[in-house]
Amino acid sequence: MCECLTSSLTTVDLSRMLMENMNSSADSTSPASMALYTVMYPVFNQLEKDDTSSAAQTLKAAFIKAEKHSPGLTQQILLKIMQKENIQVNYHECLLRMASEEFEALMIDRKEPEFQSLNKKAHALKRVLSTIPDEILDKVRFLQTIKDIAGAIKELLDTVNAIFKMPQYQNKRAMEQKKEFVKCSKNFSDTLKVYFKDGKVVNVFASANRLTHQTSMILLAFKSNA
């Protein structure tokens, strides 16, 4: 029970940290915090399973606190580790592949069907974005992936708009976050146009990561109003 409580507390801490960063960060489009919840969280979860002491949880809490005070720190640590270990992988690509993982901290925990639908639509978008690294080199399949992404974006926005129609769910922060999401989506579209000219896949990965991050921020924005 103690472990569950500690685990849920750190989940709350992560949500709170992300929300506070969302409020205070001048550049809310930065996905720097993705390194923490996308890469480190699965690592911590694995450590917690193997580690009977509370060391893993302490480490997790420390990372959350450090990231809160210094956004982007986790990403820097990861990049340094990769450099030191001479790990020859593309960071943005790895991050994107892991984007479809679901985290309790980033989901809306309300039971109403509209919010559950929003969770699903957000996850669907992140899932299709995470397939980009596998599809991008096959032009025909990549075009189909883009169509799927378009459909997922539309469904997510429709769900958000449907929630906004209900007076009891008016949420200024969520509306602002929706605007950010739309901007990020347009940026993603522009990045694709450039990609079809210059062929630089890493830019697409980075832009897709920003979009997955904004998707998570939409969920957080509604969560914060719950």
Partner: protein
């Protein structure tokens, strides 16, 4: 042996018939040669080998011509024809040649020029340049190369109604038979049909070149269309209103909200600020803080400004400065009394096929009394149904015709309300209509100014 070498052909008597025949043949050859020298040079480019790559800009902004022989076009071909089945295709072609639907012998009479761009394939006769047919790229389903002994055939499988332009909005009740894939009855069963356009080229290299060029066109077109599809999805989701912006909604509370929204946001409309500031891109400007108001009304008030801002932003990215000014002119004409029909047709011409989805964004700005015509128009040009290369499966909502008075004006501020309007609502509706007019007039001015500012940016070094 020496005798053989020394032997000289004695000129013998030539049959008069032979003489005439030979003279005729020589004359024809001479004419053909003269014709060949008279023919204009083709508009062509050197292609990189071995994949015959061409600069995409040429296909987008220019065109390339290739010489072919036009054997003919077969119509009402079953749509299930497998274009990669040599047997099936040749069977059709052989039957057609036997029944003289296609040319049998290949002569200079079949000489034609195929002009290829990202928009269409155009076929004209080599001599005289009379147009044979034009096929939009999105009507081409497949391209096949078949070598039949010495014959090198390039066969295009196309839609039955190929080359048809969208039905004008004067016939809003579009007959479904004018769709891309026409249907014909065959023994009581509806069968999808298509056309086969049969061309012949000189050799395998020419056939492969033509096929690869078409492949590149498909890549460009489908890539562009896919990105446009994505843009549409974003635009549609971003601009879906919370409530209808039409002022004839039966919900009086929404009328009040909309009125307050316009009043609140008229001073924060970003383009007024961005146009006045020197060197500032409207895209970089952000709206000022919304005025303090109750949370629900404030949130609703951002919707109108959001929609307008989004549409203006999109226009800037999709239209040139001249086109933006043309758009402003059309909008002004519409506001000053031009018919919705004229407005739609002119806009459609302005946007063209590749940008017709921009019409969707105008939905919120069309007065209720014209909305039905506008929705019908969207449907006829395939924006609503998603006709074209990529099907839009989103489905679009229809605004229900309201029985309430239509206070939205379209003219010189004169109320165009229905005679059924309640007297007690007239005052409020008229002022809301005035507010609407002012908003749209401001938009028109800002759009024109946006066009001018883009011109200035272009001129300034």
């Amino acid at each position: 042996m020496d005798d053989d070498v020394k032997k000289v052909k004695k000129p013998g008597l030539v049959s008069p018939f032979k003489r005439v025949f030979l003279k005729g043949e020589k004359g024809r050859d001479k004419k053909a040669q003269e014709k060949a020298t008279e023919r204009r040079a083709l508009h062509t480019f050197s292609l990189s080998q071995p994949d015959h790559r061409i600069d995409p800009d040429i296909l987008l902004n220019d065109y390339i011509e290739k010489e072919v022989k036009y054997l003919g076009q077969l119509t009402s071909v079953p749509g299930y024809l497998n274009p990669s089945s040599r047997t099936e295709v040749l069977q059709l072609i052989d039957n057609a040649r036997r029944s003289h639907q296609l040319a049998g012998q290949l002569t200079s009479e079949q000489d034609a020029v195929v002009s290829l761009s990202a928009y269409n394939i155009k076929l004209v006769w080599r001599d005289g340049e009379d147009i044979i047919l034009r096929v939009p790229i999105h009507d081409i389903a497949a391209v096949s190369y078949i070598r039949d002994d010495s014959l090198h055939l390039v066969v295009l499988k196309t839609a039955q109604e190929s080359g048809g332009s969208p039905c004008p909005s004067s016939c809003p009740d579009l007959n479904k038979s004018q769709t891309l894939s026409s249907l014909s009855e065959s023994g009581g069963v509806l069968v999808e049909v298509c056309c086969l356009l049969v061309l012949a080229v000189d050799n395998k290299a020419a056939a492969e070149e033509l096929c690869l060029l078409l492949s590149q066109v498909f890549q460009i077109v489908y890539t562009e269309s896919t990105i446009d599809f994505l843009d549409r999805a974003i635009f549609d989701g971003a601009t879906t209103p919370i409530r209808h912006l039409s002022l004839c909604s039966d919900d009086s509370s929404s009328k009040v909200d909309i009125k307050e929204a316009f009043e609140a946001d008229i001073n924060t409309f970003p383009f007024q600020d961005s146009v006045e500031a020197e060197g500032n891109s409207p895209l970089a400007s952000t709206p000022t803080s919304p005025q303090t108001k109750p949370a629900s009304e404030g949130e609703l008030s951002t919707t109108a400004a959001e929609l307008l801002q989004d549409y203006m932003t999109t226009l800037r990215t999709k239209l040139s400065s001249q086109e933006i000014q043309q758009f402003a002119t059309l909008l002004r004409e519409y506001r000053n009394g031009a018919s919705i029909h004229e407005f739609c047709i002119n806009l459609r011409q302005l946007y063209g096929d590749s940008r017709k989805f921009l019409l969707l964004g105008l939905r919120a700005f069309i007065p209720e009394k014209d909305s039905q015509h506008f929705e019908n128009f969207l449907e006829t040009i395939g924006v609503k149904d998603g006709r074209g290369i990529i099907t839009d499966s989103f489905g679009r909502y229809r605004r229900t015709a309201s029985s309430a008075s239509d206070s939205t004006t379209n003219g010189n501020g004169a109320a165009g309300g229905s005679e059924d309007s309640a007297a007690s609502d007239e005052g409020q509706e008229t002022s809301e209509g005035d507010e609407w007019d002012r908003m749209i007039t401001d938009i028109s001015n800002d759009i024109e100014a946006l066009g001018c500012s883009m011109d200035q940016e272009a001129v300034t070094p």
